[in-house]
Amino acid sequence: MYSKAYLVPNPPMPNRGVSIDPNLCVGCQQCMEVCRGDVMVPNPVKGKPPVVMYPDECWFCGACKFHCPVGALTVVYPLNQRIGFKRKETGEYYRIGMKNPPPPCTTPPAA
């Protein structure tokens, strides 16, 4: 019913940096190879996603996400880096990372 207890050091801060969806990942390691901080290391199991070993060294540049051929990566801003925004017409206040966000905006960038 409860999780098993382990003797481990505190989790790093930030905890994650990026997260990799193991169902999408094909184990190509491109994310790992383009990371400036080398924050990911190969998974001991071949073909599985790299392990985010140093999230406290992540720069949140997104290079890993951009180079993933299958879109398996999400950059996760830590909780202390999530700002709010206000809908002008309604005055409603939202914030990055809230539970029931408004529908996503799909406007493409100027590229």
Partner: protein, 687 residues
Amino acid sequence: MKKAGQGALVAGAGMSLPESALASTNAAHAAEDRQPWPYPVAYGKENVVEADIVILGGGAAGCHAAINAAKRGANVVVVEKGALIRSGCSGGGVDHWHGVLTHPTAKVTPDEMMETIHRLGYKYLFQEYGNGITNYILFNESYDALCDCEKWGVNVRDTKDEFKGAEYRDDVTKLMFAYDYDGKHVVRVKGGADIKLAYFNEMQRLGIKIYDRIMATSLLTEDGKQGNRVIGATGLHTRTGEFYIFKSKATIISTSGPDGLWFYSAELRGASTHGDPNNCGDSISIGWRAGAELALMERVPIGSGGGFGYPTYGSGNASNTYACCNIVDSNGKEVPWVDRDGKPMQTVSQRYHAAPGQKIFWSGHQTSREIAGPALSPDLPDRIRKGEFKLPLYADLAGMPPLERRAIWGLMIYHESKTRIIFETYQKAGFDADKDMLQVMVMPADQYTYTPWGEGFGPRQWKGGFVGGGLLFDWDMRTSLEGLYVAGESNYAGGDHALAATTGRYAGRTSAAYAKTVKLLPVDRGQIEAEKARIYAPVSRTEGLGWNEVRAGMARIMQDYCGESKTKEILELGLYWLKSIKENEFANIHARNPHELWRTVECMSRMDCGEVILNASLNRKASCRALNFTRLDYPQDDPQEWQKLITLKLVNGEIKVGEKPLDYHLQAPYAPTYAENYRRHNRLSQS
């Protein structure tokens, strides 16, 4: 080893320790049967690479240098501690390109701009665009460097006509300008998000050899002597710990400037750090140990180095990437914009235009009215305190005219460094620039001055940012050491992307010309052995302090002894502390793998930077507002006899202090004019 309960391995959360670990009192340093390092480790194993030109640092400056040297027939190698394809400050992108004065509809020529700068008295530096030499290179070559980027695949112009009708868009050239729509000297870089890809691809096409994951650690000199001609460099592989010996005819150092000397916070690094966290002052450390002359090391960047912020440009802002965005309070009341004389402006458009009779303006901290531009009302902090404007403030993107809004959100925010992630993450979270206003972070009232709010504010002890001091250089972008050239922020006068690109391409040409006149020389074994002893000391022990605690400790020393309260006694105490740390804690650092060794060797660079800065600070016996340098014991601001460059270098291991006139580059042995010096040294007409 025992794995975590389920799912993929996650650092920290699931690495369990076998029972033998309990025997050690330091949980982080226990047991041989932890998970082994996943790369083959070979500390000390030597690899030798030869090239005509070795470039240390593969950011914007290093890439432009490499490409231009290769085009002149040089065999080029680039050494990069990260992955060149995305490394450096521009690895996350770039949204604007400064100093573009030679494009078809420019209003001011390079010579006119230089004359203006001189007349207005920017003695030490002009913003972050350097000294006279780098300014002149920038103004003359910025447009050409941008055109190069276009050839390499960066789609800068509005060829799809998406921005047709925008004031900032030139209908003939289809260039889009930022900040100053009349002076037209800053170009918006559409496509900047992937600019490093364009550099990488061009370098591949030219056969330039890129050595990723190798941190440059020292220069090799003729006969191994400090101050002699530079004949190569050494490197440390960040995954395997192997040693690299690069032999070169000419070396270019382009490893940016030191970030994070005054602070180290795992809580706040990363997302709210603007500069590449790998930038730790390697050029200063490496150049210093080889005997190169450094200048302006006492300069303190304006503002804090990083701090209690949100992802850079990931919160509401009024300047820079968000230039002249509407700012409203929580009741929707608009904060006024004023012209350079403090007069409120009536329209959004006016914020992007020069004053009547004004040819050009530069945003940022202008000390001169002639080139000052519009700004958010400077009494905003007072009006917040008095309750007229209610916090939090918001960047009212929804209220901006559509083409200005689109320029900010979608063009600048997307292509500027690290903002593509902001664009994608925030839109996924429901943020719609057509409907929404982005919150400005809540700060103490005095912080709401017209400076980029996007990097947060920090404690006053935290100094940092882009521009401090660095290597002294001449009209060839050559340092005081023969064979060593400098490009980008590593030069003493700093710079941004356009400055990196232009000084890079220039140094690529000049170093290539020099390389044709010299041969490779054998390396000195004694110098190699000394360097190996220096960098492998942390893995010659089996336990000790971690690099991060030592880094935080050194930052503490800089905060206390190299902050606002500078006196001779304080600065000397700072040097005592650093020396003492070197003898004690530093001599007991233990790196548990090549990655930690890499970070530890970066601490060595930071240590050298700290020493140099403290020594430089001791030797400027006057305050200098232009350098953001204050001394309690010498409070007079920039007296005449101190208007010069203070330089330092090592000679046989001893510090030698020197000086140079501020306009050394217009005095003998150089010509008295910029145009003549540029003509003599630029190497443009040679292939």
